[in-house]
């Protein structure tokens, strides 16, 4: 393959590795390289890449003997943690993180798995499934050429930037690649954060949604409305909502557009350093060669030359008419107009045009089936103008109403509590504002991280033990620094809580939970 030269770049053990591979490929001796669809860092010697994949494959094969449905989830080695995620049948994603004695390297495998899950879901939303790509192009070039920029954009490490431009990385802070650690224990990736609105505002919002739907004519249209970084309304299924919400928060919200920076600011706020990944910057420039260069003469050569990168930074901007535009999807050759993005809906299995309109803090995303719009871009722009005409008045009204009711960044702070509330049925979570979480001491957060790991394990065990029976769980821990760390799981809902400066009795702690539950969760976690 002639790639040996690339592997000489570094010999230092990478702190974080992420690979995607297909177990159905490269079955024969000497074709092992064919399995690999993505590997980070790309400049790792193939021998090292093989050893990661070989170990993972071995474990998967071995554990499948006992549990064919759900093979290996994680390996805890002496110095590394391996996190497994079977994204599609036989397509595996594995993340390897280094363990260290430092506090920062306390991982929660479920949180890491959520990262894998998110990047895959987003990939499928834009490009369709990996398997479909492999079926289309058995050589694998199509899949590789899409996966590489996508995952790298996701990790925020693909573009070569000046070392001073630190603010624009998603996981890369400074020169560190920052994976969710114990400091993020009061967060839940893969869930949606919602704005709480009053009844009147809710009806106004619904009215807006209906008018929007009606004004698209007979087209089966879907919509998603965000206020700031919070979801207000959706007509999509929970899965699609989570994906689109994640993308909107990453690339579309006013906050992202105005700062020119990506969101997930909360990831940066609390934490310092995790993994040394200095090699990313120096080596990433040479990487695509490995994937493009070697298979350039294959059937999918045309596709690989023009790969759409939906997660590319700073590519969205707000137009004069309030619609958000991007040239990521290229331009229509005939008109020179930027092509409208399309996404693939999980529920309806339909390709939809993604139109985003923004008025102040309100972002309105509506999806129109590609198949139902005639004349391509021209037809679409007519529909867009028509929709805007019909909803603009209501849009102003709703924005005004929501702004009035908006309590600001700390709106969902409950004094004395640091909490995370997860509704697993609806994929919705709410947590203390990040600024408040940072006031917690390391000890509390570490204890919580540990507790969550424990709950994750209990949950997955319950899932396999007795399917259909939901786990009821209550744990209260007195941490070393005398803080109460509490978890309650009931009827698909989870509540995690840290109470520092609390009274020492357990009665006090459970009383505090009770109060919180009654006041903010309509008594969902109350014992009576």
């Amino acid at each position: 393959m002639g790639l040996a030269s690339a592997s000489t770049a570094t010999t230092a053990p990478e702190a974080m590795q992420l690979c995607i591979f297909d177990l159905r490929r490269g079955q024969n001796e000497g074709q092992e390289l064919d399995k690999i669809l993505f590997f980070y860092p790309a400049d790792l010697p193939f021998s090292a890449q093989f050893s990661v994949i070989g170990l993972s494959e071995g474990l998967i094969t071995f554990t499948r003997i006992f549990s064919p449905e759900a093979a290996c989830e994680a390996i805890e080695a002496d110095r590394h943690s391996h996190v497994f995620y079977e994204a599609e049948p036989d397509i595996w994603m594995v993340m390897v993180v280094e363990k260290s004695m430092e506090y920062e390297a306390k991982w929660r495998t479920d949180a890491l798995r959520r990262v894998l899950k998110e990047v895959h879901s987003l990939f499928v939303m834009f490009h369709g499934s990996v398997r479909a790509m492999l079926d289309k192009d058995p050589g694998g070039v199509l899949a590789r050429s899409h996966l590489y920029p996508f995952v790298m954009d996701y990790l925020g490490a693909f573009e070569k930037r000046s070392p001073f431009d630190e603010c624009c990385w998603d996981f890369l802070v400074g020169k560190k690649l920052l994976m969710p650690s114990f400091r993020d224990s009061l967060k839940d990736r893969g869930t949606v954060q919602m704005l709480t609105v009053g009844r009147e505002a809710a009806i106004e919002v619904q009215s807006l949604v209906r008018v929007l739907e009606a004004s698209a004519g007979n087209l089966p249209c879907h919509s998603l409305i965000l206020f700031q970084d919070l979801l207000v309304s959706t007509t999509l299924s929970p899965d699609d909502t989570v994906n689109l919400f994640a993308y909107a928060v990453l690339r579309l919200t006013p906050h992202v557009l105005s700062s020119g920076a990506s969101s997930w600011s909360y990831l940066r706020k609390g934490a310092t350093s995790n993994v040394s990944s200095s090699s990313i910057l120096s080596t990433s420039g040479a990487v695509p060669e490995q994937y493009h260069g070697s298979h350039n003469n294959s059937s999918a050569g045309d596709n690989s030359s023009h790969v759409i990168r939906p997660l590319k930074l700073d590519k969205w901007s707000k137009g004069k008419d309030g619609f958000l535009a991007t040239d990521i999807w290229g331009a229509e050759p005939s008109t020179g107009v930027s092509a409208t993005p399309t996404v693939f809906l999980h529920q309806s299995e339909e390709r939809m045009y993604l139109c985003a309109h923004q008025h102040k803090s309100l972002t309105l995303i509506f999806l129109i089936p590609v198949s139902s719009v005639l004349n391509g871009e021209q037809g679409l722009s007519t529909v867009k103008q028509q929709v805007l005409e019909n909803v603009s008045l209501k849009l102003l009204k709703v924005e005004e109403k929501l702004s009035k009711g908006w309590g600001g960044e700390n709106a969902y702070h409950v004094s004395g509590y640091r909490y995370l509330l997860v509704d697993g049925d609806r994929n919705v979570s709410r947590a203390s504002p990040p600024g408040k979480v940072t006031t917690l001491s390391k000890e509390s957060l570490l204890a919580l991280n540990k507790l969550r790991e424990e709950v994750d394990r209990e949950k997955s065990r319950a899932q396999w033990d007795s399917a259909g029976h939901e786990k009821e769980l209550e744990v209260s821990i007195r941490a070393k620094n005398n803080a109460w760390v509490i978890a309650r799981v009931t009827r698909g809902k989870e509540l995690y809580m840290v109470l520092e400066k609390a009274n020492e009795t357990l009665l006090y702690a459970s009383d505090a939970v009770e109060k919180f539950s009654n006041r903010y969760c309509s008594g969902a976690f109350s014992l009576n």
Binding site: R199, I203, S207, V209, S233, T234
Partner: protein, 565 residues
């Protein structure tokens, strides 16, 4: 039908003739100097003459003003007399001195307008109500000039006093400008309120159910205005006036029903050819008198035809919601219009505006207490109706029953209002909201006989209601007692959303959109929505598997009182 009574008078010229308000006397103006009085009980007569030869009597009218019983309008001013029972003579109570060219008086407004000046366009007004006498400020009417030295003179037939929604207006024909100017009377000021175009040299004005009818006599059409709204646009295109005999039918745009006069045996069809004849006399508010036909007609609005002649749904509904004379008809029309616009899948914004009209009208009727009595009465007999017999039918029947009872109560209370409303008279002319009080001026005194007739029919309806609540004719009779066409959320559900849901085919998302608009409107007006509508919404969302939205509805407590229970 009331059997006609006759009084025989002594021979002599008759300039004008009027019954007293208590019907005990008849006053006959014999000349411009003399008015003769005839006591119907005793048969005695006496005469009242002008004091001096230089003044002459222009006319007279009876009044319920506490100071006096009858007012003479003379060229030199007003003479107010009280009738002295003992001496059987008139006693001069007060004299108001001013030059009068001619005058206009209507009993429903209790207002007399005295014209003076070269062009007769300077007016002084007095209101003689049971609250006393109020003198309105002197004001001038606008007259366009045709040529420099040719000044038109205003005539009495160019002035109409009309009462619409309890407000008193004066309408003045300006023949040069071809405009009908309107003036509104307040206690201490007279304000010109815009003009309506006229298309005929002869114009007459009627008021039916607070709708202003401007008869364009030459063109033989009527243009209708609803002066409640700010807009001075006509409600519909010009409509023809049509004759209709008993029984009333619904086919035409405007119907004239004959009064029960002695000429009732005359065949109506003979006269259909002479609409707007030269001898027609228009009597305010809603009567037309034809000398040659020996007929008196009462004008009646055909709401169905009027609403069919306009495509602006929200404004038609507004118009219908303000109708009180045929409230039940208006209500049925509103319901059917609402159903139609939804079934025709008109744009959501249009339907939303229509719904806003209905909801705000209901909210207003709640506030003024028009509707509340009906619903309260309805609640006292909730189990009387078997709810097993098809949801639509039973809902229909119970609703009409609620109406009937609500109405009968309303009627009694309105009679109470009637007696005290003269006291409020000038206050109401200052405020816009008191349609109710004012409305009864139509009926008071003059129509007393008819009113009691109506009351008896109500009590009949009520008693037979207990016996056989499903009788078709009866329910019609009950509905005719409705005082407000306001539609409650419950009725919106039973007569609009539920039937529409049954008939509608295909995606229910349109109907959900309409229901959301209804909820928004109801929330805005603070009107409580019944749980059945929420249940329907949930069903619609669930059937189309829109669980995400259903979740949001629940999360945001849109189904407010459903959750409470």
């Amino acid at each position: 039908m009331v059997a006609p009574t006759s009084d025989s008078l002594t021979e002599g010229p008759i300039v004008s003739i009027r019954y007293s308000l208590d019907s005990k006397f008849i006053a006959v103006q014999r000349s411009d100097q003399e008015i003769q009085f005839w006591d119907r009980g005793s048969g005695e007569t006496f005469s009242q003459r002008c004091k001096s030869e230089s003044e002459s009597i222009l006319g007279f009218f009876w009044t319920d003003c506490p100071l006096c019983d009858i007012v003479f309008v003379k060229t030199s001013g007003l003479d107010l007399f009280a009738y002295n029972l003992e001496s059987k003579s008139l006693q001069l109570v007060e004299t108001r001195k001013l030059n009068v060219s001619w005058y206009v008086y209507t009993h429903e407004s209790r207002l007399v307008l005295l014209a003076s000046g070269m062009q007769c366009k300077t007016f002084t007004g007095f209101q003689l109500s049971s609250a006393g006498i109020i003198r309105l400020p002197k004001f001038e009417m606008a007259m366009a000039k045709s040529e420099a030295n040719n000044k038109p003179v205003l005539a009495a037939e160019d002035i109409f006093i009309v009462t619409v929604y309890g407000r008193i207006y004066c309408l003045q024909v300006d023949r040069i400008a071809m405009l009908l100017h309107s003036y509104r009377f307040y206690r201490d000021v007279v304000v010109q309120q815009g003009s309506l175009p006229i298309y005929s040299s002869k114009v007459a004005v009627s008021v039916v159910d607070n709708v202003l009818l401007v008869h364009q006599v030459d063109a033989k059409v009527v243009i209708l205005y609803d002066i409640y709204a700010d807009s001075r646009a006509p409600i519909s295109a010009p409509l023809p006036l049509l004759f209709r005999g008993f029984p009333r039918s619904n086919s035409s745009s405007l119907r004239s029903n004959r009064e029960d006069t002695e000429s009732s045996e005359v065949n109506i069809s003979d006269h259909e050819a002479i609409i707007y004849g030269d001898d027609w006399t228009f009597l305010v508010p809603d009567l037309i008198f034809s000398v040659s036909n020996k007929l008196l007609w009462k004008i009646h609005l055909d709401l169905e035809a009027i609403s069919a002649s306009s495509s602006e749904v929200p404004s038609v509904l507004e118009f219908l919601q303000r109708r009180k004379l045929e409230a039940s008809k208006a209500k049925q029309l509103c319901l059917s219009i609402a159903r139609t616009v939804i079934l025709e899948r008109r744009p959501v914004s249009t339907v939303a505006r229509a719904i806003d009209v209905l909801v705000s009208s209901y909210s207003h009727s709640i506030k003024t207490g028009n509707y509340l009595k009906g619903t309260k009465a309805g609640k006292t007999l909730p189990s009387g109706m078997p709810h097993t017999t098809g949801p639509k039918l039973s809902a229909d029947a119970s609703a009409s029953r609620v109406d009937a009872i609500g109405k009968s109560i309303k009627y009694e209370s309105s009679a109470g209002v009637d007696s005290e409303s003269p006291n409020r008279f000038l206050t109401f002319s200052n405020s816009d909201s008191e349609e109710d009080a004012s409305f009864h001026f139509f009926d008071s005194k003059i129509d007393r006989g008819k009113l009691t007739g109506a009351e008896t029919s109500v009590s009949e309806a009520r008693s037979s209601l207990v016996n056989n609540p499903l009788d078709a004719n009866l329910s019609e009779q009950q509905e005719s007692q409705l005082t407000s066409p306001a539609i409650s959320p419950d009725e919106m559900y039973s007569f609009v959303f539920a039937p529409v849901e049954e008939e509608m085919v295909g995606e229910p998302s349109y109907l959900v959109a309409i229901i959301v608009e209804f909820l928004r409107s109801a929330n805005l007006e603070k009107v409580e929505v019944r749980p059945n509508l929420y249940v329907l919404t949930i069903q619609l969302l669930a059937h189309s598997e829109r669980y995400a939205e259903l979740g949001l509805f629940v999360l945001n407590k849109v189904f407010l009182n459903l959750l409470k229970k």
